[in-house]
């Protein structure tokens, strides 16, 4: 089974802190994603990576950056956390190259910025 692991289930950070959310997948997937989940809004794509060191902005990249130095690891960085970034963050991965492959999700990180 594919396993996508996010380093923290719950995080509480202060406004202005630099925050790192880590994600690791064990299936050699090319594609990795960071989504943000908010009630009534579904999931919104923050950033996407299709290969090591490659990244593309999603629908809501403002205030975020990402890093992918190794194929299995994809990090989301909040440069200066703000209260409006309080949310559930979901990492996902999928095999690249075909449109019919599903994405596999981590368990989520619930981030609270105070």
């Amino acid at each position: 089974d594919v396993k996508v692991t996010q380093s923290s289930r719950y995080l509480v950070k202060r406004t202005g802190e630099k925050v790192f959310l880590e994600c690791v997948q064990d299936m050699d997937h090319e594609n990795m994603f960071w989504y943000r989940q908010d009630p009534g809004l579904g999931l919104r794509l923050i950033y996407f990576s299709y290969d090591v060191k490659m990244k593309e902005k999603g629908d809501i990249p403002e205030g975020y950056s990402v890093s992918r130095e190794k194929k299995e690891r994809f990090s989301l960085i909040l440069e200066s956390a703000s209260t409006n970034q309080t949310s559930m963050y979901l990492c996902a991965s999928r095999s690249g190259g075909k449109m019919n492959t599903e994405a596999f999700f981590g368990q989520g990180t619930r981030l609270t910025v105070v």
Partner: protein
């Protein structure tokens, strides 16, 4: 851009009754449609997908979905709901090239199955 809509925020059913979670889509070309389920404080789990072929797709945990091109719908169904099916359900559609890496999600439907 491709999009999906889930017209119901909440669905309540009694255990043993049929369960339907609605999804409609708006796409250019052939749709690639997915259903995911999220249990409390967990990530999303894949249930099933429609790519091409049979309009009735069978998935995990006894769920199935019917693709209806004329009604642009992809409703999720289960003949006999269980209390353990209580969760948040998301419909999703894959975008078209060159953005086909993207999955666009509906807002989600909360399903409550009462004993």
């Amino acid at each position: 851009a491709q999009s999906v809509a889930q017209p119901e925020d909440q669905v309540n059913v009694a255990e043993g009754n049929p369960l339907t979670v609605k999804c409609t889509y708006s796409v250019s070309g052939n749709p690639y449609l997915f259903w995911y389920v999220q249990y409390p404080n967990r990530g999303l789990q894949f249930l099933l997908k429609y790519i091409t072929g049979d309009n009735l797709v069978k998935g995990s945990y006894g769920f199935e979905a019917e693709f209806n091109k004329s009604q642009t719908s992809f409703h999720l169904k289960k003949p006999s709901a269980l209390v353990s099916d209580s969760a948040l359900y998301f419909c999703a559609v894959r975008d078209i090239p060159p953005h086909d890496y993207k999955l666009s999600f509906g807002a989600g439907t909360t399903v409550t199955v009462r004993a």
